[in-house]
Symmetry: C2
Subunit: 226 residues, 2 copies
Amino acid sequence: METCGASPLRPRERIIKTARDLFRKHGIRGVGVDTIAEQAGTNKMTLYRHFGSKDDLIIACLQDFANDAEAFWQSIEMSHPDSPMAQIHEWVRIVSECALDDLRGCDMANAAVELAEDAHPARHVIEEFKMAQRNRLAQLCRDAGIEKADQLADTLCLLIEGARVNMQSVGLEGPGARFISLAEDVIAAFAREKPERKPATLHRHASAKIKGRGQLHAPLPAANRA
Amino acid sequence: METCGASPLRPRERIIKTARDLFRKHGIRGVGVDTIAEQAGTNKMTLYRHFGSKDDLIIACLQDFANDAEAFWQSIEMSHPDSPMAQIHEWVRIVSECALDDLRGCDMANAAVELAEDAHPARHVIEEFKMAQRNRLAQLCRDAGIEKADQLADTLCLLIEGARVNMQSVGLEGPGARFISLAEDVIAAFAREKPERKPATLHRHASAKIKGRGQLHAPLPAANRA
DNA sequence: GAGGGGTGTTACCGGTCAGTAACAAAGCGC
DNA sequence: GCGCTTTGTTACTGACCGGTAACACCCCTC
């Protein structure tokens, strides 16, 4: 019956993994500490020795989630070490794959929905995480030589965020399931725009070689609005 | 202390309005039926006479929300009766205004997050609503003579959905708050693409006059992807 | 083998939850 | 006025919730 009962992990890690799993499946408010402890192959007392309250456990889960995201970014970087543009495409691919895996959306965003109180201690964890993700993507866009890097990052952020929440509402029938295609089109449109002058200095892990697919298109006037 | 206590509305309507308000503020699972009844200036028994269960009340709230959305679409249509493109811009404007009003996102999407069980009776209400909204927007895009109308509708859907959930996580500092600008750029890029041949027959409320702002831009090659 | 930290077990607390029973009162059409 | 429907009031149930107390146990280290 337990999900991590026979595991070599220490109770603390089992509790976090189990809690993340149950929170994701049933919602944070939809699962109690007793259930978490039992499913983790331990008991409520041990849980409360490691986490002073359910809120503490929630925060620990979100931080564990953030750690996973960190590893995800490193894998992205290693997949195409010298092509930021290829990393962007890899980001689209993997992030879409994760969203399609189950249809329960983003744990951070879900937590923001469920923990509605402004003062909830988890909220600043969520806020910092979301901002960091966006900035990381924006940096990647800059490294790729995208002229309007911040705008592309903003657009991609909203697209994936929207895709995750949309799939939670309508499953695979809605626009969320078509995220890859939509995102790639947006990237192509942004990559088509002419870079400033010098072919974009890479800010991080500098590499002069820019060979992203988007760069192969002919430059077109900026799609700026009024 | 009550929100609708002195209102001329009948208890049923007061309960629905109050429940919607409280659900939105504190989350569906974050407020009990006692609180709802009291805040609505009535009592739990009357609540349970009108709604057999809390789930029934939730569904009634979501349907009430859908009614409001219907009125919203009609106001959009009346704002620019003969210009679908202008209606799209109006849609962007109002939808963004609503999202910025409070930062609690979309009631339907929030409900999908909180009511995680696949079999929950509210889920098909949510699903139908979300699909109907997307299709309505897609029809508007077709009426506006957008070549890739469905793709634009999908993109705009994900952008606004993402904006709402993003603002719930990071407030006004993140990309969600820049939705209008991002959406307008996307619309401009799609409107710039050359319409098929004949200047797009209007399917509903036919009007030959197409004078949306996006049409003023020079036509550009399609932003199609691989 | 003694000690101690981490863990398990059981029982409990007060609070809140969704939902119900029984009865009283008020409004309203006739 | 009468009668019916709607509403209000109080009290209750049983379940579950987050959190704690007290005590026993196991395993590792010295």
